[in-house]
Symmetry: C2
Subunit: 237 residues, 2 copies
DNA sequence: TCCAGTAATTGGTCCGACCAAAAGGACGGG
DNA sequence: CCCGTCCTTTTGGTCGGACCAATTACTGGA
């Protein structure tokens, strides 16, 4: 057990976190208006510049709606919520997704990556295969090392699956994966912990072979099956 | 033709827009580094506080990568790009998607909304149906009016289809639709222009009936068919 | 040639003051 | 009693200067 880097949070980050908490725990509800920036300044003893910066950050994350000279109100995140909002919600929960969130995530994964997988298997080129092979070679190199680096391997797995979306020719799929990134990385870290590093890389190679063979349905069903395996392993715990 | 609301953009927004333009038009390429914040301050006569805020915003949008004390470089948006990045790209192009983007969008729509549709049809409750009916009632009310308001109708259609995702029980799908929002709204505006307002509302009612009947496959194929119709109509133009 | 020491530069944070627009009263004519 | 006009207050948005810590670039001596 190492202590690791100790980072001092900034006042602004703390303020953002505090307001996020109030919203996510329901103390602040959609439609509620926040105190004015000056009032917050007095309460918190933080300069108005930083108060303002924090509120703008929360607006960009989809938590608030700011109208100039009218104030900030808590947004209804059914209306404005994005992946950013969800990431914050998960972070608040100590980085753990609820069972429902996990299921939702995997369902979304099948929908998006499944579609990409099908398309890619149908129209893969040599260039596509080379692109994916190169990422797997990096993953193999990571396996060879004596010191295992799970984070680097998870990153490689992420890039492999994003590569599938990228090479499917659809311009939206890889962007969606980028949006999901923190969640997907967490997923792979867990998968490595449960099934082992080698097993995950081996599975990736299976996908590549199915794509090479042009077996769209086979690749899709492989995805469905591995997701279900993951789910049943999760249920056991 | 009405003039509409005139909103004064903030300096920060203008700076963000300008840098976005430079990146999207290729004047700034991935890997290029930006001038330092102080240099930008001199060039633009905008205070460093605002310069910094603008750069951070661009980082959150996936256009830049900022390293403390090293500067900001233009990001490779394969790596960092999000829906926000794509929205900006489309906005720069006058709100028009390329043919490939349109195809990608519709493919993503089938993947996501199709999955939601299937799930919802299998496990819909009376509450779910009432929720969707209520949105369609609003759409009907809009149709009755003598003055047609396409934007309001497009919004209702958006909320109906987001409602499908919301009521599917998957926590990710509605968030994804929010992320897509500007693009989806553009899509519905176009669909209203091509097929007419009544026709679009009528189609929505068909989905609702298929969901009510629990016909998951029927609903899914309805979606596929209407997407293909839209595509072939687009090809004709 | 090398290296320690230093000066300059960088992004990140913070402050207190000011601006223009909007909201809310106060006032006065009808 | 009503309604427009004027003025004060409050609001978010902006500014320029300051400081910090880390990095980089340079410089002088061994």
């Amino acid at each position: 057990m190492s202590i690791g880097v100790i980072e001092v949070p900034t006042r602004r980050a703390l303020l953002v976190q505090k307001i996020e908490e109030q919203i996510l725990t329901g103390k602040l509800r959609a439609g509620d208006s926040l105190p004015s920036e000056r009032q917050l300044q007095e309460e918190t003893h933080i300069s108005k510049t930083m108060i303002h910066a924090a509120l703008v950050e929360l607006e960009q994350k989809g938590f608030l709606e700011i109208t100039p000279r009218r104030g900030a109100v808590v947004a209804n995140y059914t209306e404005t919520g994005t992946m950013e909002t969800l990431n914050a919600r998960i972070r608040l929960n100590g980085g753990n997704m609820t069972a429902k969130q996990t299921r939702s995530f995997l369902e979304a994964r099948i929908a998006i990556e499944g579609a990409a997988l099908r398309r890619l298997a149908e129209r893969r080129t040599d260039e596509d295969l080379a692109y994916l092979e190169q990422i797997l070679a990096q993953a193999d190199a990571l396996l060879e090392r004596e010191k295992s680096d799970d984070a680097a391997l998870a990153d490689a797995l992420f890039r492999f699956h994003r590569g599938i979306c990228l090479r499917s020719g659809n311009e939206f799929f890889p962007l969606l994966l980028n949006e999901f990134r923190p969640i997907i990385m967490e997923f792979w870290m867990r998968s490595i912990a449960v099934f082992g590093a080698a097993s995950n890389v081996h599975l990736a190679k299976r996908y590549l072979e199915l794509i090479r063979a042009g077996d769209a349905e086979g690749a899709f069903h492989r995805l469905e099956r591995s997701v279900n395996e993951y789910l049943s392993c999760l249920d056991e715990q």
